[in-house]
Symmetry: C2
Amino acid sequence: MERRGLIIVHTGDGKGKTTAALGLALRAFGAGLRVLILQFIKGKKDSGELKALKLLGVEIRQCGLGFITKENFAEQKKFARAAIELAQKEILSGAWDLIILDEINYAVKFGLINAPEILSLIEIRSPELHLVFTGRDALTELIEVADLVTEMKLIKHPFQKGIVAQSGIEF
Amino acid sequence: MERRGLIIVHTGDGKGKTTAALGLALRAFGAGLRVLILQFIKGKKDSGELKALKLLGVEIRQCGLGFITKENFAEQKKFARAAIELAQKEILSGAWDLIILDEINYAVKFGLINAPEILSLIEIRSPELHLVFTGRDALTELIEVADLVTEMKLIKHPFQKGIVAQSGIEF
């Protein structure tokens, strides 16, 4: 079969952008692909997905401090810079078949990294490497070069009914 | 924390409905929830997700023959009937915290099962049980009773560029 690395984007205001990327990691890992997940901004070390992925042996690295605040913005920016450099290094390493850049769109939106930096990741990759970009408000230029783009659209959220976020489901 | 079983729906014409449900299974399993996945229509035994879920120890059962064709329609209907009965039994068993009913919307759309059958699954569950319904063209009545509804919207698909489906990513 023709092996062709896909540029995949999950964007939109709905749930499921990261979750679908995790599902993709699961499927790809099960199919024998070498999968790396780099999470921008995020820093929660005890999430359900982290535990399950570690149990499986899927490589996941968190490169942030959690929610962006006025107080931690400068430090988040440093972390995002390190994350971009790590992404470049891993893309060039040849060690992976699929790299998921989780919340990277959000990092661009909030000015932690800039548009050319995210687009250059696509330019430097080998044509067999699959790359997944998640986060709301994906760049137009990213959508233009992508092969597979899904918008996760919020139709209804439990918050609207006054239901608090449920452990194991939403976090 | 208030434990409240959510009714979750992934619908729309885009990729990521099943994949996000798999990601949810991963997260929930990692968080210690007891997770069961019932796949309607599907019958592919060697998919990447099946291998990875089995490795993890997540229960997944396929209750179909794969693609619906004119030739297999009657038999698919029998399988879907058995799947609904299995879903009822498992919902009532108390053995699970999260049950994913993958492609069940599709089974309704194609007349393998009917609307009251899918809606009754919600009525018989205990209020702590999370239920996930995936598949395009979800019933309006289902969306009405749901807590969390995401529409996965197709923005761009590799098929449109003439790229064949990639192993480990799309199947």
